[in-house]
Each structure stands twice: as structure tokens, then as C-alpha cells.
């Protein structure tokens, strides 16, 4: 499975995503934002960071990077695309995912572990997770407060497109367990066709016991279809 990891000027998590794909058994490759083609990629990751310095607002300039034309076409053709953190913001700005990420309710940058409830296990990104499982990974952002208009939000819920929700360690959602004020406690969503995922927390920072959690690895094993994550899943479940 060839995975293109897009690098914008200002991407900070490209190496973390690269390594996550490697650990999951896939073949990652960096693709510089000025390139026009994704080559032989079977999947695309838009990593975290501050693409183009987040000038104007996160993702607003990155969507105009030359490679984004290819990413949008790839997604429209049904290709698998994952946006993590800044990548999620870029995918929203590029119109591949609905809604927007507003400034955190605290008005501060927040960096800490969070718990997420897996709402869907049937997607190409979560097949190595069990539905309802609570997973733990770091989040690190200033603009992670998910917003969409009421109709969009209702559609997301009605069609089961909310993939991850902020919760407490027991899987209960509450205002206290919501780190940034996201509507409906949304941490990650997929598009209508189910082939584009955006999420604010960092599975790419939860891939080894030494880092405190391996709960992010099944996302990458799901993506590359190696099945290698199922073992890790059972181990920690």
C-alpha cells in the first residue's frame, strides 16, 4: 500500500505520519506541495502542523498549493484521504469535508491527552477498531472547535459520519470531556462517500507503548489494510 504524505511548508507531523505508516506495514512517500501529481499513491495523508504558517486562517492558503488539485481529484475518484489536525483543517478549507474548525473555546492552544469513543468501525480508517471502544491519544491545537450549520450537523449524525467523539475514559460524552467546544463533541468525521477522514487528535503520536499509547496504530493498519493492527488492538483492549 503506497501512502503519499503531503508536505507543505510548515508541516510538522509529516515525519510522524511517515513513521506511523511504516509501523503499520505500508509504504510511505513524501510528496512536496508544489508537485502536481500523487504518482502511484493508494492513499493520502495530509499531516498536522502549520501549513503556510496558518496565515489568514488554518488551511486557507494550503488549499491553493499545487498538490491540492491532485488530492481533490484523487478524493473525488474515491481514493482514501486522511487529514490529521492541521490536515483536517486543510480538508475542510478544500471543500472535501463539511464544516469548519473554530478557535478552541478556551481561546488557548491546548496540548494534552484526550479520550475518544469510536463511533464507527465500518470505515476504511477504523476497521481495526471495535465500535464503542474508548481510545486515548494526544491532541494539540488552537483551532479544533468543530462547527457546522444545523442541517449539515443533522446530516452527519443521521448518516453515521461522526467517526470519533470526545468522551471520558468510560466512553461518556460530556461538556467536561469536550476539550475545545466542538459541536456534538465531534473529534473526527468522514465525507458522504466515506473515503475522506478528518480528525483533530493525533493517532500519529500514539503508535508505540513508549509514547504512552498505541491506540492510534489501528487507524494506520486499517488504512493500509495490513490487518497488523488487529493484534495491537486485542492486546490493549
Amino acid at each position: 500500500m503506497n501512502v503519499a504524505v503531503i508536505t507543505f511548508p510548515g508541516s510538522n507531523c509529516d515525519q510522524d505520519c511517515f513513521r506511523s505508516v511504516e509501523l503499520a506495514g505500508g509504504s510511505p512517500r513524501y510528496v512536496w506541495h508544489r508537485e502536481q501529481s500523487l504518482g502511484d499513491a493508494d492513499a493520502v495523508i495530509v499531516p498536522g502542523g502549520f501549513a503556510h504558517g496558518d496565515y489568514l486562517r488554518p488551511g486557507a492558503i494550503a488549499r491553493f498549493s499545487p498538490i491540492m488539485g491532485a488530492v481533490i481529484a484523487f478524493a473525488r475518484d474515491g481514493g482514501l484521504v486522511v487529514g490529521i489536525c492541521n490536515g483536517f483543517q486543510v480538508l475542510c478549507e478544500a471543500g472535501l469535508l463539511p464544516g469548519a474548525l473554530l478557535r478552541n473555546e478556551s481561546m488557548r492552544f491546548q496540548s494534552h491527552d484526550c479520550a475518544l469513543r469510536v463511533e464507527r468501525s465500518g470505515t476504511p480508517f477504523t476497521r481495526d477498531y471495535r465500535k464503542g471502544r474508548v481510545i486515548r491519544m494526544p491532541l494539540s491545537h488552537a483551532d479544533g472547535n468543530y462547527y457546522a450549520d444545523p442541517e449539515t450537523l443533522a446530516a452527519l449524525e443521521a448518516t453515521g459520519r461522526v467517526v470519533f467523539r470526545y468522551s471520558d475514559a468510560r466512553g461518556t460524552v460530556s461538556a467536561e470531556a469536550n476539550p475545545n467546544g466542538s459541536l456534538n463533541h465531534i473529534a473526527g468525521i468522514v465525507n458522504a462517500d466515506g473515503n475522506v477522514l478528518g480528525m483533530m487528535p493525533h493517532p500519529d503520536r500514539a503508535i508505540e507503548e513508549a509514547l504512552g499509547s498505541v491506540d492510534g496504530l489501528p487507524l494506520f493498519t486499517s488504512l493500509v489494510g495490513s490487518g497488523a493492527g488487529t493484534a495491537a488492538h486485542t492486546e490493549v483492549a
Binding site: 511548508p9 510548515g10 510538522n12 507531523c13 515525519q15 510522524d16 513513521r19 498536522g48 502542523g49 502549520f50 503556510h52 504558517g53 496558518d54 496565515y55 488557548r108 492552544f109 491546548q110 496540548s111 494534552h112 491527552d113 494526544p138 494539540s140 488552537a142 475514559a169 493525533h202 500519529d204 503520536r205 503508535i207 508505540e208 513508549a210 509514547l211
Partner: protein, 755 residues
């Protein structure tokens, strides 16, 4: 070659102008001797910057020579952009700490942000990729609105800059005391890793090689920042000093970082240096000075942000995110190509010469020509006698035995100490910093030391910054020794071997005898501790003139300690793990309360003899801890420092914020000491460890083999149980939820309120 002539519009060189440049009459005579003629206005500006306290170390250099700087593992000692040590496995670590106190006092957000920017550049110009930052921050008391403004601005500045560049913050310290009311101490430290063979230095080797200005354009900001950092602030400086504070752009920094590392790996360049304090002047002169060569540059070729800049302004600008690069002759286009990929500029501005001079042209006309070595190394140095202030001596010699009884009782005092901002959790601060980016943060902030993994290995680098300002105020020598000892103990608690330090020496005006006394004593204390503990000094920074209207900060020699863990599987964490585990105290209780958090928080007093340091005992303790961690017999280890045993026990029980892994504990002390001295004393040389019941005998044996006192003080109890402490005189039963609110809630409750 034609000697430089004054430019039209240059002011005449008068004694007043010389004085305005911070150059004394004696120093000016020295300049005349070096030049053999009157300097031009441009040259005077260059001397002023290079011979400022900030660049020239004129009041510190002689004493700093006393510090140990060598060890077999030290690859680069003081004098370069950053120190470098061998951390094994083919890797070298570049690291350094630097102050940004003066700009932060005036404009906290940009002051702190550009401090991070500068220290990152110092590290990546050595060829190392920055992998971690730490910050040592000292502020006044949080009940003052201006302190809250400075504190929140500094934290946001650090966060916004470091987060954008994508370097994890792994630790540091935040300290509050009225001694820092008007002059916050903002010290930033950076660690960078490289393969040993990738090391590059800030040199201008090879006559005929090309000087290139790289990165951001040069503007009029920060002119004479180095000289500004060498003066004390006064009322009204808020407004007047603003043009001397630079503005940072972390996105450009990120591009510059990636471009520089690519440039270094490409082999197209022979030297690279940050245009930091004193900008193009210091980078050009220092690179030439180190190599014994000369440089010639034409300021008309330097990319500028605004028109009409004079050579004086271009040479002294401290615009951020700029580098001076020495490219191998003929490789200029290849250098430019790499910079263009990262959307940055690189312009040829001059070349390396054999003349030994720092020569500057403007459109081909000479405007400055100064011998490089006297400029960088010839700054007159002073060592004038100092004298302890009577005020401090009286405070130190004060009898504090009358303060053993907390007025509102022991339990109230316990809660006050645990909830004092110095002891309380700094979660509010470090959760604004990205602590996990790059996926190598093995131990995040909140423990004794941060630990970063060397990518692709199972080797770790531990780091900690420490300085208890109250201790150094009351006794600078003991305080500085204590800072080294505590920093070493902190990294040792994680299982790392202490290797080397970088230091940031923050003091008042060296023109005052009592400040000179503080400085000398602190350097001597540091010398003794670093020599004995075999942790040489590889570089750092001196920041004098941290004064406002004559009131100096506490002497604050911040120690940034580096340790190495060969095998990350042996890492030890600070929090208790399993109920039933045995709790031991390593080291002896002496009940030293001088300069303690207890006296400050409960009696509003800064007095007494601060804890003394027994270096022999300290080293034995370190070796003992390392023997225990390498054998894998410890469940936890946590240093005893500010707030004493009370703070250590609470932190060991509470675990990490948000982790929900807290436990209780039941402990008993038989020491014949007053309760306050026992629970809140800040005596050095102590660590609280825990182990599984079946390892108890081994823990006792290893301690006895190392001659370290080892006392079983209690047992870890299940989550939900209280912290029970029994002394000869009292019994405390403290609810963990109450302690948790005190410890985690203290700073947010002040900072999250409406200003």
C-alpha cells in the same frame, strides 16, 4: 585599500556620542589604539555592540574562566553557537540556554517568542535538528495584575512560536516571587540531535569563499538590542524601548530550519551562524575571528525591508530569522536553489579574506574596517571586588526557629504549601505548549525531567532546568551549588546519567558591589558542583542589568542539565504505581527551612540560611539511584526540593493530570524534628522512591552498598485512599481530592479569572 571615510550625515564623534554608545573613556582609548585613527560612526556602532556586556561579557569573562568545561564526552565547549556532547550510538547533542529578559519585560509576547527563535537557530546552525525546548521562567507574585499580564503573554509567546515550528516542549520551571516583580526572567533552552559527523561550526574558513545573507530581510527593528540588554530598565521604558524589541515569525523560522539543515547536509557550505544579538556585525566578526580570517561585505547587497537604511542600521539590525552563511566558492547557485525551494532568499553579500579585518563597504566605498580578533576577543574585561549587602546578610543570619509553628495549624500550612504557585502543577503552562509533536516525547512535562528519545534508537536524553531564586538570593554560593545538584538529581531520577550543563546567569547591574559579590559567589558554587559531579559547562549566557529603578532581581543562575539514558526500558517515572508498593526515603532529613516555600507561603518571609549541599552525599545518591534504575527495581523516584517532603509525596500520589492514575499513601516519620521543618524543609540530597514489595530487600542492599541512608517510610495505598502522614507530634489525614484541587487548581484559579 582605502581607509573608511565618514559618510555624509554621520554625526561627529564626540565624548557624548561615545558615552551614548555605552563605551567608557578608557574603552574608547583602547579603540583608538586598535584602529590607529578615529573610528567612523559606523565603526563606533560596531564596537558598541561587540563590546557590550551582552556580546563582550566584559564583567563576567574572567570569572567564567573558572568553570570546568572539559570532559571526554564534550565535543564542543563554550564559544560556539551551542555546546555539543557525545550521547552515544553515533549521536551528538547540541544544546544551549539563553535569556530574553529585557525584551520580555517590555513586550512579553514578542520578547519570549523571539527568545525561542534565537535559541532554536543557535542549535540548528550546529547541524542539529531541534528536538526539545525547555523554559525557565521567573515572575513576581501572581496577585499583581501586571505579573499576570507578563506571565500569560510570555507563555503565549513561547507557545505560539514553538508550536508553529513544531518542536516539543519537554519541561522547564516556573517560579514566582516578589523578587521578580518588574523584571521577569525568561530563559529558553533548546536541545538538538545530529549524527556526530554532521557537526558544523560558525566559521568563515577558506579565503575566497562567499558570504551569503540567508532568510528574512533586514529591517530597522532591534537596532542596538545587544546594548539595550546591557542596561537597566527604568520607569517609562515600556514605550521608549519598543523599537529595540524584535518581532518574530515562526513560519519563516520553520522554513529557515529545514533549509539550513538541507544546506548543511548538501556540503555546499563551510560555516553558518545566526544573525542574533548585534546581527550581521557579530555573526560576520565572530565567524572571521574564530577562523583567523577576515570578511568583506557590501551592505548595499544585503536584502532590506525598507529603503534608505544606513550601513550603521544594516550592521546593527536584529531582525529575526536571518543567517549568515559561508558558501564554498562556486556553489552559490546551489545554495540559492535550496533556499528557493523553502521560499527564502539567499544573496551574496561578500567574501572571506586573508586580511584579518571586518571590512564593510557601501556600494564599493569603505565604511568600516576593523581588525576582527580585537573586535571579538579584545573587549576589555573587568573583575572588580564585590561585597555582600548587609540587608541580605541580616536576612540570612536571621533566627528562623520562631517560625516552626504554622499560625493556622499544620494541615492548613500543608495545603498552603501544596497550593502555592511555586509548588503547584504547571499544567496551565505546559498544556499551551505542544509536548508530543515529533512522537519522541517519552517523559513529558510534569515529572522530574523531560525525556526525549533519540529517533530510531532506544536511547534517551533527559533534561531539566533549575534555579531556586530565594536560595541564591540568601546565599548565592550554596544556591548555585544547589541548582546544579537539584538539576542533576532531577535527571538521575528518570534513570539518566548527568553529563553536562548549559547555564544562564541572570543578575542585576555588575556596576554594584553587592551584585558582583552575588555573581562571583554563584560562579564559584557552580564551579564546585560541576567539577565534583563531572558535569562540565558547555556554554550559556550572561544577562546583567535585570533591574528596574535600582531594584535588582534575585541572583538567578539557571542550570540546564543534560543526562543520557542508555536504555529507555530502564526509565523511572515520578509517580507511585501499585498499591502495596513500599515507599523509601533515600538521604537524610535535616529540616532546613531557610529560604523555603513554607516560610514564604505561610509566614511571608524570605530569610534564613538556605539548604547546604553535601556534594559527596549528592554523588553517592546519584550513583545509588542509577544502580537501582539500571537493575529495574524501582517503581518510582521523585526528587525532594521546593515544598519539601510535602510536595514530593503529594506529587507522587497524584500522578499526571487527566491520567486518572492517582493513588494514596500512608507514611510515618520518626525523625526528631519539628513538624514544619520535617515536612517542608528543602534539604538537598533526598529522593522518595517506591518499589514492589518483593524488591524491598534489593533496594535496601543497593542503598547500603552506596552508603546512602535508606529509610522505609510507608506504603502506597489504593486509589481513593487519603495521604496519611504520621510524625512524632502529629497525624495528618489528607483527602486526595482536596490535595488535587489545591495542586492542579492553584494557577488556573488565578489565571482563568477575568483580568
Amino acid at each position: 585599500m582605502a581607509a573608511p571615510q565618514p559618510r555624509s550625515g554621520d554625526p561627529p564623534i564626540t565624548p557624548d556620542l561615545v558615552d551614548e554608545h555605552g563605551i567608557s573613556p578608557d574603552e574608547y582609548r583602547e579603540i583608538l589604539a586598535i584602529m590607529g585613527r578615529e573610528p567612523t560612526f559606523t565603526e563606533l556602532g560596531v564596537f558598541s555592540a561587540m563590546w557590550s556586556e551582552h556580546c563582550g561579557y566584559k564583567n563576567s569573562k574572567r570569572l567564567l574562566r573558572l568553570l570546568p568545561t572539559k570532559a571526554p564526552w564534550v565535543i564542543q565547549g563554550p564559544g560556539e553557537n551551542a555546546g555539543v556532547i557525545d550521547v552515544g550510538g553515533g549521536y551528538a547533542l547540541a544544546f544551549k540556554i539563553e535569556s530574553h529578559n529585557h525584551p520580555s519585560a517590555v513586550e512579553p509576547y514578542q520578547g519570549a517568542a523571539t527568545g525561542i527563535g534565537g535559541i532554536l537557530r543557535d542549535v540548528f546552525t550546529m547541524g542539529a535538528r531541534p528536538v526539545a525546548t525547555l523554559n525557565s521562567l521567573h515572575f513576581g507574585d501572581l496577585d499583581r495584575p501586571r505579573v499576570r499580564y507578563l506571565f500569560s503573554g510570555v507563555v503565549k509567546g513561547i507557545g505560539d512560536y514553538g508550536n508553529c515550528v513544531g518542536i516539543p516542549s519537554t519541561g522547564g520551571e516556573v517560579y514566582f516571587d516578589r523578587g521578580y516583580e518588574d523584571n521577569p526572567i525568561v530563559n529558553a533552552m533548546c536541545l538538538g540531535l545530529m549524527r556526530k559527523e554532521d557537526l558544523i561550526r560558525g566559521t568563515a574558513e577558506g579565503v575566497g569563499n562567499t558570504l551569503m545573507a540567508v532568510g528574512a530581510r533586514t529591517g530597522r527593528d532591534g537596532i542596538h538590542g545587544a546594548t539595550f540588554a546591557s542596561e537597566e530598565l527604568s520607569e517609562g521604558d515600556d514605550v521608549e524601548s519598543r523599537p529595540q524589541v524584535q518581532v518574530g515569525d515562526p513560519f519563516t523560522e520553520k522554513l529557515l530550519l529545514e533549509a539550513s539543515l538541507e544546506l548543511i547536509a548538501s556540503g555546499h557550505i563551510v560555516g553558518i551562524q545566526d544573525m542574533g544579538a548585534a546581527g550581521l556585525t557579530s555573526s560576520g566578526a565572530e565567524m572571521a575571528g574564530r577562523s583567523g580570517t577576515g570578511v568583506e561585505m557590501d551592505v548595499a547587497l544585503v536584502p532590506v525591508r525598507e529603503q534608505g537604511m544606513t550601513p550603521y542600521e544594516i550592521l546593527l539590525s536584529e531582525s529575526q530569522e536571518r543567517m549568515l552563511v559561508v558558501a564554498a566558492a562556486g556553489r552559490e547557485d546551489a545554495v540559492r536553489e535550496i533556499l528557493e525551494k523553502w521560499e527564502l532568499e539567499a544573496e551574496t553579500i561578500g567574501s572571506v579574506t586573508a586580511t584579518g579585518t571586518f571590512r564593510v563597504l557601501e556600494d564599493g566605498v569603505a565604511v568600516a574596517d576593523i581588525p576582527a580578533l580585537p573586535l571579538t576577543e579584545g573587549c576589555p574585561t573587568y573583575e572588580r571586588p564585590g561585597e555582600e549587602s548587609a540587608e541580605v546578610r541580616n536576612l540570612r543570619q536571621m533566627d528562623i526557629s520562631g517560625y516552626m509553628l504554622p499560625p493556622a495549624g499544620l494541615e492548613e500550612a500543608f495545603l498552603a504549601v501544596v497550593g502555592s504557585p511555586n509548588v503547584a502543577s504547571k499544567q496551565w503552562v505546559y498544556e499551551q505548549y505542544d509536548t508530543t509533536v515529533r512522537a519522541n516525547s517519552i517523559e513529558r512535562p510534569g515529572g522530574d525531567a523531560g525525556v526525549i528519545r533519540v529517533p530510531g534508537t532506544n536511547r534517551g536524553v533527559a533534561s531539566s532546568t533549575d534555579c531556586n531564586g530565594r536560595h541564591t538570593y540568601l546565599n548565592p554560593r550554596a544556591g548555585a551549588m544547589g541548582a546544579v545538584a537539584e538539576a542533576a538529581r532531577n535527571v538521575t531520577c528518570t534513570g539518566a546519567v548527568p553529563m553536562a550543563i548549559t547555564n544562564c546567569l541572570n543578575f542585576g547591574s555588575p556596576l554594584k558591589p553587592h551584585i558582583r559579590h552575588q555573581f562571583r559567589e554563584a560562579v564559584l558554587g557552580m564551579r564546585d558542583a560541576c567539577s565534583y559531579l563531572e558535569t562540565p559547562v558547555t556554554g550559556g549566557n550572561v544577562s546583567f542589568y535585570n533591574e528596574t529603578d535600582g531594584q535588582a532581581v534575585y541572583p538567578t543562575p539557571v542550570i540546564g542539565m543534560i543526562g543520557v539514558i542508555e536504555d529507555l526500558d530502564t526509565i523511572v517515572r515520578h509517580s507511585f504505581r501499585g498499591a502495596g508498593d513500599a515507599i523509601f526515603l533515600l538521604g537524610a532529613n535535616r529540616g532546613e527551612l531557610g529560604g523555603s516555600e513554607y516560610l514564604y507561603a505561610v509566614h511571608d518571609l524570605v530569610a534564613g540560611e538556605p539548604p547546604r549541599v553535601d556534594l559527596q552525599a549528592e554523588r553517592a545518591l546519584q550513583r545509588c539511584l542509577l544502580a537501582m534504575s539500571s537493575r529495574g527495581i524501582l517503581a518510582s523516584a521523585h526528587d525532594v526540593a521546593g515544598g519539601g517532603l510535602a510536595a514530593t509525596l503529594v506529587e507522587s500520589c497524584l500522578g499526571r493530570p487527566r491520567a486518572g492514575d492517582g493513588v494514596g499513601a500512608s507514611v510515618r516519620f520518626t525523625d526528631d524534628l519539628p513538624d514544619a521543618a520535617l515536612l517542608f524543609g528543602e534539604d538537598h540530597g533526598r529522593v522518595v522512591v517506591s518499589c514492589a514489595p518483593n524488591e524491598e530487600e534489593r533496594v535496601r542492599r543497593v542503598a547500603s552498598d552506596h552508603g546512602v541512608p535508606c529509610t522505609r517510610i510507608g506504603t502506597v495505598t489504593v486509589a481513593g485512599s487519603p495521604l496519611e502522614i504520621e510524625t512524632r507530634a502529629s497525624t495528618l489525614r489528607l483527602d486526595m481530592d482536596v490535595l488535587s484541587d489545591q495542586y492542579f487548581g492553584a494557577i488556573p484559579s488565578v489565571m482563568n479569572q477575568a483580568v
